[in-house]
């Protein structure tokens, strides 16, 4: 969706629009942070989730993104669509967050946790339904491929916008997108088949129980 920067209203105190660069009278007025926050919070939130930021950190990292946006708003050219630029900021903040050592937490291994070694088919089905399947699938891609896939197939940005937002050549975008699509499709297919098997097993177990009671 193209975000049209609000036009300059009047010279009242409190108008929420201001020109970012006084010397560049030809430039459109930059949208203010509050307006961006209102309109794009969900966009940032969901893309951070897709980029693999865990739920416990989502609010903090979202705040980091908007702080970064507030700091660099003067760099944004209002003639360009907002969302790709915003995704670029989001991607960089998410990458930094993931790189930080303090954000690296130990993930309990199923092999070491007897509680999750052998769930029943019903439990496994419920667990798989409750998990964020998209995030699980995307999590199996590295972040560079993931970012391109999210921008192209989830956020529906075109390749030129992706290249500009991520500061990579267009050919690289296509290359990463090709790889990401193949892998994402395969992972999604595997998960769908796995869920179908679990559902069938649960159904079979349910049928057997009914037969035993009869």
């Amino acid at each position: 969706m193209r975000i049209v920067p609000p036009s300059i209203q009047d010279s009242d105190v409190g108008t929420s629009v201001a020109t970012s660069d006084v010397g560049q009278s030809n430039r459109l007025p930059a949208p203010d942070l509050a307006a961006i926050y209102q309109q794009e919070l969900d966009y940032v939130w969901h893309n951070l989730r897709r980029l693999g930021i865990p739920g416990r950190d989502l609010a903090d990292v979202t705040q980091d993104v908007f702080v970064a946006v507030g700091r660099s708003l003067s760099d944004y050219d209002p003639a360009r669509p907002l969302r790709p630029w915003l995704f670029g900021v989001t991607y960089r903040v998410a990458s930094t967050h993931r790189r930080l050592f303090r954000n690296a937490r130990e993930v309990p291994s199923p092999d070491l946790d007897p509680a999750v070694v052998a769930p029943s088919p019903e439990d496994a089905l419920v667990q798989s339904q409750e998990r964020d399947l998209v995030v699980d699938c995307l999590g199996q891609l590295d972040i560079k491929h993931r970012a391109v896939l999210i921008m192209y197939d989830f956020a529906e940005h075109d390749v030129a916008q992706i290249a500009e937002a991520l500061a990579i050549p267009v050919k690289t975008v296509y290359s990463r997108l090709r790889t990401a699509r193949l892998r994402f499709s395969a992972i999604a297919r595997d998960i769908a088949e796995q869920r179908a098997r679990i559902a069938n097993a649960a159904q079979a177990r349910h049928t057997n129980n009914i037969g035993w009671k009869r």
Partner: protein, 274 residues
């Protein structure tokens, strides 16, 4: 090259379609994020657009806690007019601005019962860090909160900054222990009346504005918001064009509140009276 892209599998397309239905952050988290963002930017000294509101944010360091946002907007308008050095037509512009600000105030209050903030477009200006007020640590408290509910734009009420709050002897919620008392209800009642007066002023319904201010005077003669009430009275007289009453009330105000943050606004209101 786009044609060479491999198609997504049906399972992948289903996942992408399902992901679009996932809800965003709840309202409480939205407010928290915005509050944290503005605080972080203010601490970093990042000055966002709306220069006039930024000036008010600086002045707002003197604003006592409890002054309603609408009145702060009036002060903002008056001070910005003074700062700009304009003489002719300032009063008319100020009146128009007051009407717009108050109209926004009224519409939001109407939508939202008595609490105008949740539906209000968030304030914009972020104040630079305030000078420290010994012995309190100088962490500015930005009032502005977002309302990420509707894309419709409402004229923004000027931003301001409260005096840094004393952190000692306060609970995590920012309230004194046991402060949920009649005092809070009393202040809420005062604000209710003043907000109504401000809304009426925005509609240029001077009689209603006076009526609300008179009710405040009789109900809360020494109320916490008496200073704001008396300033509003000057604004009402000035907007009404009643120079004699406005000047009389302003003289009374100056004598009673010599160090008031409303002084400049009151002076600006009188500046263009005949």
């Amino acid at each position: 090259m786009k044609d060479e892209l491999p198609p997504l599998s049906s399972a992948a397309l289903a996942l992408i379609a399902g992901d679009a239905d996932i809800a965003g952050p709840p309202p409480r988290v939205r407010r928290q994020i915005w509050r944290g963002t503005t605080r972080a930017l203010a601490t970093a000294g990042v000055l966002l657009p709306s220069a006039a509101a930024a000036k008010i944010a600086t002045v707002g360091a003197k604003v006592t806690i409890g002054i309603s946002a609408g009145t702060k907007a009036i002060i903002a308008i008056a001070i910005s007019a003074t700062v700009a050095g304009t003489t002719a037509g300032v009063m008319m512009q100020r009146r128009a601005s007051v009407a717009r600000v108050a109209a926004a105030h009224v519409s939001t209050a109407t939508q939202n019962g008595r609490a105008p903030t949740p539906q209000r477009t968030p304030d914009v200006a972020i104040a630079p860090p305030l000078p420290p007020l010994p012995p309190v640590a100088a962490v500015p408290e930005v009032i502005a909160e977002p309302t990420p509910v509707a894309p419709a734009r409402v004229p923004v009420v000027a931003a301001t900054v409260d005096r840094p709050r004393v952190t000692t002897a306060r609970t995590a919620g920012g309230r004194m222990p046991g402060a949920q008392s009649a005092g809070a209800e009393r202040t809420a009642g005062e604000r209710h009346l003043l907000d109504d007066a401000l809304a009426a002023l925005g509609r240029r319904d001077f009689a209603a504005a006076r009526q609300n201010l008179d009710r405040h005077t009789s109900a809360f003669p020494g109320g916490r918001l008496a200073e704001e009430r008396d300033a509003l009275l000057v604004f009402v007289f000035a907007a009404q064009g009643d120079g004699t009453a406005a000047r009389f009330q302003a003289a009374h105000f100056r004598a009673r509140y010599p160090g008031s943050v409303f002084q400049r606004g009151v002076a600006a209101a009188l500046a263009d009276l005949p």
